[in-house]
C-alpha cells in the first residue's frame, strides 16, 4: 500500500511538470496538495494538449469510457495512472 502511495505522489509531481508545459497561464500551483484542472489556468485547448502529453510521457492511452471525475484533478489522474501501473 505504501509503495502505491509513493508511486502516486511521484506521478503527481511529474503531472505538475507536464501541466506547466501545457498551460497558457503560469499561475502558481501549490507545491503540496491537489490541483484542480479547472483552476490551473487550462483552456479547453490546453486540456487536450495536457492529456496528450500525459499519454506520451507515461506511454498510455486514455480509455474512451474514462469517468469525467478521473480527469478532475492532478491527484485523481495520478491515482488512475498508478492503478494502470504507469
Amino acid at each position: 500500500m505504501e509503495m502505491t502511495g509513493t508511486r502516486t505522489r511521484q506521478i503527481a509531481a511529474e503531472l505538475k511538470d507536464l501541466l506547466s508545459q501545457a498551460r497558457t497561464d503560469q499561475v502558481p500551483l501549490p507545491a503540496d496538495g491537489d490541483v484542480l484542472l479547472r483552476e490551473a489556468g487550462l483552456s479547453s485547448l490546453d486540456t487536450v494538449a495536457f492529456l496528450v502529453l500525459i499519454e506520451d510521457h507515461f506511454g498510455i492511452t486514455f480509455d474512451d469510457d474514462l469517468p469525467e471525475d478521473t480527469l478532475r484533478s492532478v491527484s485523481s489522474i495520478a491515482r488512475y495512472l498508478a492503478d494502470l501501473g504507469a
Binding site: Q21, A22, R23, T24, D25, Q26, V27, E39, G41, L42, S43, S44, L45, D46, V48, A49, L51, V52, E55, D56, T61, F62, D64, L66
Partner: protein
C-alpha cells in the same frame, strides 16, 4: 408499435423525404456510428419521424433551442427539428446560461430541448419589442461564431440546406462507400457543412468520436470503422501530428480541415499519408469553396452555386486583395434575432460582406487576413470586444483589454485587467456562466495600473511584449 408520422413529414418536406428515400435504399445499413452504438438508415428515419411528431405537438409557432452533443441522439433531435413544423435553433453546447438566456430573449424561444429530445418551457425575459419577425420558410437557425460581436442567429430553409449538402457531396466525391469521422460539433459549420446532410444524403456513414476527443481515441474510431474521410480542426490535427498518430491515417482518402491555416509542418506530415483538403465557409452563407489539395495556401475554387467577388478595401493593402463577398444558393434568409433590414445591410448586390480579406488568383480564393479585431482560437472566431465588455462590467474593474497571444505555439486569449481589488479567481467567478468557456481568457494579468502611452491610452504593444517576456 405504432409510429405517429409527423404532419410535416407526410407533407414531404425536404429532409423527411431524404430520410425516407435513404431508408428505402439503404435500409439496415448503418447511417451513424458512435462508440458502442449504431443506427441504421431505416431506424434513423423512424426515430426522426417520431421525434418530429413530438415537436409538432408543441405547436406550429414553437421555437426550440438545442445544444447538441456529438452523439446519435443529438443528431436525431437536430434532424427532427428540421422536419417538424417548429423552428430549431442549433446552439453552441459550450454556451453558459447567460448566452442561452440572450438567445431565448432575442429569438422568441418557446422551448429548450434536452439531449434526448425532451422539451421544457423556456422561461426568462423577452425583448421588449417582441420576437423578431421570422423570414418566410425558415425551418432552422444556426449561429455566427461571434465574429460580429456576440453570436447572431441566422434563419435557413431546409431545402437550401439540402442543396448545399448535395453540392458539397458532389464536389468532394462523397459516396455510399465513404465513412466520415467528424471531430467537430454539430452546431459548428465545419460539421454542419461537411458531415451531416451531405453524408446522409450520399448514403455514407457518419462516425462520431464522442465528447472527449484525443488523437488516441480518434485513431481507435478510424481503425475500428475503417474511416475514409476525416473532418477536423487544425489545432487538433497539430496534436495528431505531435503524437505521430497520423501514421494510422494511411487508409484515409481525405482529411478535411478548415477554419484556420494548418501549420506547415502539420500539413506536410498529413500530406505524406493522405489527401489534405480545405474549404471556405461562413455561418451566413454556408460552404463556399473547396480545395482538394491542388493549390496549397488557397481555400479553393467557388463551389457550383457560389459566387465570390472581391471589393476594394483600404485595410487590404496593395496586390489586388480586398474584402471577400459571397453569394450562395443556400445562404441565410436573414437574422432571427434582428430586424429584416439589418440583414440587408450586410449584403452588397446580393453578396454577403464577410470580414475576410483575400484575393482570387486563377479562380482560387486566397485569404489574407480579416477586417477588425476578430481572432481565431482553435478554429473559433472570437471578437475580443465582447469579452472586454463582460470584464468591464465586473465591479472593481476600471479597464480591461483582451489580446491574442501565442503560448507553446498555440493561440490563446489573454486578459489584461486594471483593478486594485480583484484577483484571478474573482474574475473567473464573475465570467462563469456569462461567457462560453472558450471565450474565457486562459491567461489573466491583473494590475492596479496598466502601462499607458503618452496620450494616456493603454499600450497594447507593451502589454503583449511584457506577456511574451513572461
Amino acid at each position: 408499435m405504432t409510429t405517429t408520422v409527423s404532419e410535416s413529414a407526410t407533407a414531404g418536406s425536404g429532409v423527411a423525404s431524404l430520410l425516407q428515400r435513404q431508408a428505402g435504399e439503404h435500409g439496415r445499413r448503418p447511417a451513424i456510428r458512435e462508440r458502442g452504438r449504431e443506427i441504421s438508415y431505416a431506424d434513423l428515419c423512424e426515430a426522426v419521424t417520431r421525434r418530429a411528431a413530438d415537436f409538432d405537438g408543441l405547436g406550429g409557432e414553437a421555437v426550440l433551442a438545442f445544444q447538441p452533443g456529438r452523439d446519435i441522439d443529438s443528431l436525431i433531435t437536430v434532424l427532427a427539428g428540421m422536419v417538424s413544423q417548429a423552428v430549431i435553433l442549433i446552439a453552441d453546447p459550450a454556451w453558459g446560461s447567460d448566452e442561452l438566456g440572450s438567445v431565448v430573449a432575442n429569438c422568441g424561444v418557446t422551448h429548450l430541448i434536452g439531449r434526448h429530445g425532451q422539451a421544457s418551457t423556456a422561461d426568462g425575459p423577452r425583448r421588449e419589442r417582441g420576437p423578431a419577425p421570422r423570414p418566410d420558410g425558415v425551418s432552422f437557425g444556426r449561429f455566427t461564431s461571434g465574429s460580429t460581436g456576440s453570436s447572431r442567429c441566422l434563419g435557413f430553409r431546409e431545402r437550401t440546406a439540402l442543396t448545399a449538402a448535395g453540392t458539397w457531396a458532389a464536389a468532394t466525391a462523397l459516396g455510399p462507400a465513404d465513412r466520415v469521422a467528424c471531430c467537430a460539433s454539430f452546431h459548428n459549420g465545419l460539421a454542419f457543412n461537411t458531415s451531416l446532410l451531405s453524408v446522409l444524403g450520399s448514403g455514407a456513414q457518419l462516425l462520431l468520436p464522442g465528447d472527449r476527443l484525443l488523437p488516441s481515441s480518434l485513431v481507435r474510431l478510424i481503425e475500428t470503422h475503417e474511416a475514409t474521410r476525416l473532418v477536423a480542426f487544425p489545432f487538433f490535427l497539430d496534436l495528431v501530428v505531435q503524437q505521430g498518430a497520423q501514421q494510422h491515417f494511411r487508409k484515409l482518402r481525405q482529411i478535411v480541415s478548415s477554419a484556420d491555416r494548418l501549420q506547415p509542418g502539420t500539413a506536410a506530415a498529413l500530406r505524406e499519408v493522405s489527401q489534405v483538403c480545405d474549404y471556405y465557409g461562413l455561418a451566413e452563407v454556408g460552404p463556399c469553396t473547396y480545395n482538394d489539395g491542388e493549390r496549397p495556401g488557397s481555400v479553393g475554387r467557388p463551389l457550383p452555386g457560389a459566387s465570390i467577388r472581391i471589393i476594394p478595401e483600404p485595410q487590404a493593402g496593395p496586390g489586388g486583395a480586398g474584402r471577400v463577398t459571397v453569394r450562395t444558393g443556400w445562404m441565410a434568409e436573414g437574422y432571427l434575432d434582428g430586424d429584416p433590414q439589418e440583414w440587408a445591410a450586410h449584403l452588397s448586390d446580393g453578396h454577403y460582406l464577410t470580414s475576410d480579406l483575400g484575393r482570387l488568383t486563377d479562380g482560387f480564393l486566397i485569404l489574407e487576413g480579416r477586417v477588425g479585431r476578430i481572432v481565431n482560437v482553435g478554429g473559433r472566431k472570437i471578437d475580443p470586444a465582447e469579452i472586454e465588455e463582460a470584464l468591464r462590467l465586473i465591479d472593481g474593474v476600471s479597464y480591461a483589454c483582451v489580446l491574442l497571444v501565442h503560448v507553446h505555439g498555440r493561440p490563446a486569449l489573454a486578459a489584461f485587467i486594471e483593478s486594485a481589488t480583484l484577483g484571478r479567481a474573482d474574475v473567473l467567478r464573475s465570467l462563469s456562466g456569462k461567457l462560453a468557456d472558450y471565450k474565457i481568457p486562459s491567461a489573466i494579468r491583473i494590475a492596479a495600473k496598466l502601462p499607458r502611452g503618452e496620450a494616456g491610452k493603454v499600450s497594447r504593444e507593451r502589454l503583449l511584449a511584457e506577456f511574451q517576456e513572461g
